[in-house]
């Protein structure tokens, strides 16, 4: 029963991804301006240009181009980057881990901060602290990741320079990594000094991405918790003599996580999209930053590959949220 639901959703996901591919493909080829023109040296002859165009298949009709590209994707061949002259798949594999580490860490921080604020707010019900917290969250809700990032640059990079402003690691350190998951690898191999350096570089981008999401989670979770706290079973638990903290976090919380996730799930996908500009601001070498470069350089194969990857991430996050919502509902767990 769960299996057929999953299969159906995977099928729809594949369809969506296909749609994404089509849209970006068409969008790129109706654009005025010639990507080839950006690649050639000034003294090139018309023949060279025609050759180049043929090499990248840009002289074929739209359908054929798409068919060739799609066939390549299914084989694992994402084409060659026009601007970086390397295999696109290799480029993606190189840069994706950085973005993944950033995004996952940001999601975790958002849940921790947002959840903590919601629980604290519920414990402070009908007291002064609650109004102050509500006000702070309300203000936070208006600040998008872009502004957080820039504010952090100003405060922690310039006015009170405690954090590094760009990159993933101190450039003077050269440590051989096996994978591109620098943070994960350094933690697993107990190279804590390096891990610390990586984390220092990640703090500001993570906070910029996490805080808007945390504000939303906090608002919705607190509202759900407040509703749950007036339910009979909480009253019974209170009569049993269970502590206030247990009432909120132990009794009420488990019943509201599912609905809260359902309402906030889409915001997690927005976080993925946010990595584009945040990585740019902090010169963080992930796929977001690479995406901006690719668009500026009209690097068609790279743009297509990147959009596919982002699309796949979006779909995966959605799937994960759906599964999590189902997991937190005891009525669904028993089939």
């Amino acid at each position: 029963m769960i299996a057929t639901g999953l299969l159906r959703r995977l099928g729809m996901a594949a369809a969506t991804l296909f749609g994404v591919a089509v849209v970006v493909f068409v969008l790129l080829r109706v654009a005025p301006g010639d990507p080839i023109a950006m690649m050639i040296s000034p003294g090139a002859s018309p023949q060279d240009i025609a050759e180049l165009r043929a090499r990248y298949g840009l002289d074929l009709p739209l359908f054929s181009q798409f068919g060739i590209w799609l066939a390549g994707i299914l084989r694992g061949d994402f084409g060659t980057s026009i601007s970086l002259h390397r295999d696109v798949l290799g480029l993606l594999a190189e840069r994706l881990p950085a973005t993944l580490e950033l995004a996952i860490a940001a999601c975790l921080v958002a849940v921790a901060v947002g959840g903590g604020a919601a629980i604290a707010g519920t414990l402070m019900r009908r007291r002064l602290g609650e109004a102050a917290l509500d006000g702070a969250i309300g203000l936070m809700l208006a600040v998008p990741d872009f502004i957080w990032a820039l504010a952090f640059v100003l405060i922690f990079g310039v006015l009170w320079p405690v954090l590094p402003l760009s990159g993933r690691m101190d450039p003077s350190v050269s440590v051989p990594f096996v994978t591109h998951f620098y943070l994960l690898e350094s933690l697993i191999t107990f190279r804590f000094a390096i891990a610390g350096d990586i984390i220092a570089h990640m703090v500001m981008p993570i906070m910029a991405l996490a805080l808007p999401l945390a504000a939303i989670i906090s608002r919705i979770l607190k509202s759900a918790l407040s509703e749950a706290m007036v339910q009979d079973y909480v009253l019974i638990a209170r009569v049993k003599g269970l502590s206030e903290i247990w009432l909120v976090a132990g009794e009420a919380l488990r019943n509201v996580i599912g609905p809260t996730l359902a309402l906030t799930g889409v915001q997690f996908t927005f976080l993925i999209g946010g990595t584009v500009i945040i990585e740019r601001i902090f010169a963080y070498p992930g796929i977001g930053n690479m995406g901006i470069e690719a668009v500026i350089n009209r690097d068609l194969p790279l743009i297509q590959g990147l959009v596919l990857v982002f699309g796949a991430l979006f779909i995966l996050v959605n799937l994960a949220i759906d599964l999590a919502v189902a997991a937190f509902n005891p009525r669904l767990r028993h089939g």
Binding site: R126, D232, Y233, I236, V239, K240, G241, L242, S243, N255
Partner: protein, 294 residues
Amino acid sequence: MTAPLLAISHLGAVSGRGIGVPILRDVSLEIAHGETHGLVGESGAGKSTIAKAVLGILPHGIRLTKGRIELAGRDLLSLDARARRELLGAEVALIPQDPLTALNPGRRIETQLTDGLILWRGQAFKEARRRMLALLEEVQIREPERVMRAYPHELSGGMRQRVLIAAAFGLEPKLVIADEPTTALDVTVQKQILRLIRAMQARHGTGVVFVTHDLGVVAQICDRATLLYMGKVMEQGRVATLLEAPRHPYTQALMAACPRYDRPGQGLEPVPASVFATCRAEIAAFDRAEAGHG
């Protein structure tokens, strides 16, 4: 005579701010250890409020204006929040009105049943679980192991109420408060539940406060009762005496209103308006006297 288990003296409560609307007017009652005491009255008479006052879960709009509540000799109202929570948690249990909403839908029965024992009797989970399993058999649940592992939504209303009864008595508290425990159940199940509560009370020697609007229930299982109308005690005493020789016109009228199976021609008489007039005059006089003292 040993000291009473629960002693409420001159309890007053109002709702709303300022002077407020009186909810309880000078209520006093005593419950001995092992006694089953009925708190009777129509809706709004204040019986639930008394129960909630004892348990410390009065809604935010209602506050106590005067009086004492003593549990096993200790003054409940003078204790700080933590001491109160400890005393009530260990010695008073509640059988709630609606079994459908009283259990946490997200936790298995076994964890909800063992809370009290783990917290207040210092038992480990395994030990507490074994004990509650025995109690599930006591309340005549046929597959106790399956029920233990189940979630509340898998059980019927009657079964959930039995689980709640087991939870209440399993803690071996000194006092169990049953808040209209049969209102939400089918008529056929009601009688079973009542008999069950009586049996559990007898076996464990617990004091029981039975909050109800049904004189018939009081007749069946209570030793003594307190009759309330508009927050004031109308009549109080041994159930047998109350039913055979009621002194207050309200009680008399209530008795007349009950359908009698042994006298099919009688009963179902509405309470005459004159009785209400008498009661309300009494209460108004009481209020004036109170205001004069305030």
